[in-house]
């Protein structure tokens, strides 16, 4: 048998190996894609119920005697009136058969803790409502919402079900009377955080993220561009510059939580800056994103052809003028793309902000850079930790909002790159 035959004999085996190897590569990619699909469908599936809000329509008698106020009462009197009682009465009227103390207490949990504030706000807007009977749609409690949305299976045996038979019967009776309806959950976008899942919203977290990113952008963009210009255009070749470069490369790979430790020890303990404030979060995140933006800006500056610089210098521009008047504008699209990607990274970052105390439970929507606030990813973290079932859908919905912002930012970056990219 000669060599050719030997080779021919082994060919089939070798081709099989080749195909298997190729298949392994394909499977690897497919695994990654499959995982992404599972992740997204899982989260979207869990998030969708959060965008509907369940209401219970109740006939409330707003008698002046019960509330202890009348149309001429002062604002603070109206604010402090007892609205809970009226709502409870409305519920009792619907289910007159409920008499025992324990059952009544259970009955009153049909509406959310926020219902009384809803009523208060309605009356404060329009004091004429006093002494009338109104049909008002009150926010339902999260357990009721879970039953209505099907998150709690009504067919489970009572012992395994969070909502017991008695309550379930009330809910079903309300449903048949048409007193339960669902609307789009605008509150999710207009409320701050809350202990009650049905009232919790992400406006506070969105604004906190916005303020934090504002600080990050204001600090990291100018510093990173300046550093990149210096390192690409002016830096002499010496040990100090080498040391800077090593530092930048290393910082890019330092775990983000270490930046949080830096923020805690230096900015909060040493400089006494306010805890949980967007300004500290912004500073920490800007230190963290600096390497990313510097590296991106450097490659954008490097991509500008030397002929441009030489032409400027040849016409009598100084080095500084050639850089600021010609190189920088040409590199700007690349720099901006890198900056947006760095900002997206900062938006999704959680760990360093945990360290500087942005995990606190904050109801108020932040108005300034120094107020305690939280950010979107931390809101996700906080809600994911909450035991109430209603927070599960809120968590997923907050993740969707976070992903939406990330996708939008990356889309802008891609658009910029496509639109302004020049092949020199």
């Amino acid at each position: 048998m000669n060599n050719t035959d030997l080779v021919k004999q082994s060919l089939q085996k070798r081709y099989l190996k080749e195909r298997m190897f190729k298949a392994m590569g394909f499977i690897s990619i497919a695994t990654a894609i499959l995982f992404l699909l599972i992740l997204l469908t899982d989260i979207i599936g869990k998030a969708l119920p959060a965008f509907t809000q369940t209401n219970i329509a109740l006939e409330v008698k707003l008698s002046a005697d019960d509330l202890g106020i009348n149309a001429n009462s002062s604002e603070s009197e109206i604010r402090n009136a007892d609205y809970r009682k009226v709502i409870r009465e409305a519920l009792s009227r619907l289910f007159p058969e409920v008499t025992s103390r324990k059952d009544k207490r259970e009955l009153y949990t049909l509406t959310s803790m926020g219902a009384e504030f809803q009523l208060r706000d309605a009356i404060m807007d329009n004091p004429q409502l006093i002494d009338t009977t109104q049909r008002i749609e009150f926010l339902a409690d999260d357990d009721v919402a879970a039953v209505v949305k099907g998150a709690i299976d009504r067919n489970l045996p009572e012992s395994d079900r969070r909502v017991k038979n008695q309550k379930l019967a009330w809910i079903e009776s309300l449903e048949t009377k048409g007193q339960i309806n669902s609307t789009f959950n605008w509150q999710f976008f207009s409320n701050g955080d809350s202990r009650e899942p049905e009232m919790a919203g992400i406006k506070g977290a969105i604004l906190g993220s916005f303020f934090t990113l504002l600080v990050t952008l204001a600090l990291s963009f100018p510093i990173a561009v300046a550093a990149a210009i210096y390192l690409e255009e002016f830096a002499p070749k010496n040990r100090f510059i080498d040391f800077i470069e090593i530092n930048i490369n290393n910082l890019a790979a330092v775990p983000s939580i270490v930046f949080g430790l830096l923020g805690l020890a230096v900015f909060i303990n040493f400089f006494n800056m306010p805890r949980s404030a967007p300004v500290v979060g912004g500073i920490v995140l800007s230190l963290m994103t600096l390497p990313t933006i510097i590296i991106a800006s450097r490659s954008a500056i490097k991509a500008v052809p030397p002929s441009l610089r030489e032409a400027a210098l040849g016409l009598g521009a100084s080095k500084m003028q050639s850089v600021f008047h010609h190189v920088l504008p040409a590199a700007l699209p690349g720099i901006l793309t890198g900056t947006i990607i760095g900002m997206a990274q900062a938006l999704g970052e959680t760990a360093p902000l945990l360290m500087i105390g942005m995990v606190a439970f904050i109801v108020d929507i932040p108005q300034t850079l120094v107020e305690p606030s939280t950010v979107l990813p931390i809101q996700v973290f906080l809600w994911a930790d909450s035991p109430e079932r209603g927070f599960l859908e809120k968590t997923s919905a907050a993740i969707l909002v976070l992903l939406f912002f990330l996708v939008a930012m990356n889309a802008i970056a891609i658009y910029l790159r496509k639109k302004f990219e020049k092949k020199w």
Binding site: F21, K22, I27, A32, L290, I294, I399
Partner: protein
């Protein structure tokens, strides 16, 4: 005077001196029209004058701002002790209470003694604020006047201006150094305080970790133990699982994409990998804790294994998926750096593609791949949110991936979130763990970057 108003005034001076200097030079140029060549544009004289008004004043302002609070605090402390007021509690808390009284009602609610301190506090605050304003404004005005007097046509204004700008650029570049120094010092400083209380050897080699100090002395487990070995083992276990997932998948993805995939597959797969890389870690953590961990638990129970609900496997698996894009893009870089001639030589000798890849490309790219794996390992060790949400809190010394383990980053987060005094061994321990984390990842990164660079040079 408020800081914003002060800044505004200083900026106003800067603008003023810019116009004055420019005006002065423009007039001077006109007078010397025939005899003097214009070498520098008038605006550069303006820039220099403006920077004179601005920069020193800002630097001084920044410095004064930093020392303002400690100064006020120490002044009040002296006042309190001189008036023999019994602060009877922590001085910081006492001062905080006084400072937080920002409305008349809150002031009225303070005790009489505290109101005295409050008044004194306001006096001191007022005087320091006025002093700062006066000093900063004086510097700004004096330097403006000086600059305007000194500037003439022969001043090399553009060169001076460009030197200053270059200095600012250099300063921006050195922030990287300052950050590193800041990290090293903050972590090292707190760690030495920790090692003052807990011997370093028992920290590094102790096998029991229970940082909770009991409130009562007679409680069970009243003394805290800071043996970090279970954390190190847990971290390594989860990172190892993550690497076990990400290295083969990432490497094979990179090979498939660069050597086999058609254009259409690449146009789908590349963005997918980028999306995977861009998903925030907190999302992965949520997914690991609420979907993957119960799934693995159920799977394990169906074949008769007992799986902890916070198993190392779930966290490691999801972390591995998260690192795939990282490994794949690094491998892609090193594979494409292998010279084309090697590929063609092998194919020309009759090897199949897979033979070329396994026997030529991978050995040639091995140092680069090893570097990439080291970087991925450092990424896995430092990853926080996935393990915080999906791994356990209790320190078990085990290498069984089905049990719950805890990691260094998880412990840093649990030790530092919540309200604690900053001086307890418990919080300081977090910094010691941070030091370990920083040193480990630093060493891995330095080795990896060195290996990758050496490898690149080999083919250049």
């Amino acid at each position: 005077m408020k800081i914003s108003a002060l800044l505004f005034l200083v900026l106003l001076f800067a603008a003023f001196s810019y116009f004055m200097a420019r005006q002065k030079i423009t007039t001077a140029y006109r007078q010397h029209k025939s005899s003097h060549k214009i070498l520098t544009l008038p605006k550069y004289f303006g820039y220099v004058a403006a920077l004179c008004a601005l920069l020193p004043a800002l630097v001084v302002l920044l410095f004064l701002q930093m020392v303002e609070e400690p100064y006020i605090n120490s002044e009040i402390a002296t006042y309190i002790s001189s008036e023999h007021i019994d602060a009877n509690q922590n001085l910081d808390l006492y001062l905080n209470e006084i400072k937080s009284a920002d409305t008349p009602e809150k002031v009225a609610a303070l005790s009489e003694e505290k109101q005295l301190v409050y008044q004194r506090y306001h006096e001191i605050e007022q005087t320091t604020a006025t002093t700062i304003s006066v000093v900063v404004l004086a510097i700004s005005i004096l330097l403006t006047i000086g600059a305007l007097k000194k500037i003439n046509i022969n001043t090399p204004a553009r060169k001076v201006f460009e030197k200053i700008i270059e200095g600012i650029l250099l300063l921006a570049a050195s922030i990287a150094i300052m950050t590193t120094v800041g990290i090293v010092f903050s972590v090292l400083f707190e760690s030495t305080r920790f090692f003052g209380e807990v011997p370093i050897l028992s920290f590094m080699f102790g096998t029991e970790w229970s940082p909770q100090t009991a409130i009562r002395a007679d409680q069970v487990g009243s003394s805290a133990a800071f043996g970090a070995v279970p954390l190190f083992v847990g971290t390594m276990l989860i990172s190892f699982i993550a690497l076990l997932v990400s290295v083969p998948l990432g490497l094979m993805s990179a090979i498939y994409l660069s050597e086999y995939a058609s254009r259409s597959i690449r146009s789908i797969a590349k963005p997918v990998l980028e999306i995977l890389a861009g998903i925030p870690t907190v999302v992965y953590g949520f997914f690991a804790a609420l979907t993957v961990a119960p799934f693995i638990r159920g799977l394990g129970e169906s074949i008769g294994l007992s799986v902890a609900s916070e198993s190392a496997l779930a966290a490691g698996l999801v972390m591995g998926i998260m690192i795939i894009p990282f490994v794949s893009s690094l491998s892609d870089d090193v594979l494409s750096a292998v010279p084309q001639s090697l590929r063609e030589g092998s194919l020309g000798l009759g090897a199949t593609r897979s033979e070329t890849i396994i026997k030529v490309l991978i050995p040639a790219a091995l140092p680069g791949i090893v570097g990439g794996v080291l970087l991925a390992a450092s990424r896995a060790i430092g990853e926080t949110m996935i393990v915080v949400m999906a791994a356990g809190l209790a320190a078990n010394l085990t290498v069984n991936p089905l049990e719950a383990v805890t990691t260094v980053t998880v412990q840093i987060v649990t030790l530092l979130t919540g309200d604690q005094e900053f001086d307890s061994a418990k919080t300081l321990a977090a910094f010691a763990l941070g030091l370990m984390l920083f040193v480990t990842t630093l060493v891995l990164n330095v080795i990896a970057l060195h290996v990758v660079r050496k490898y690149r040079e080999q083919y250049e």
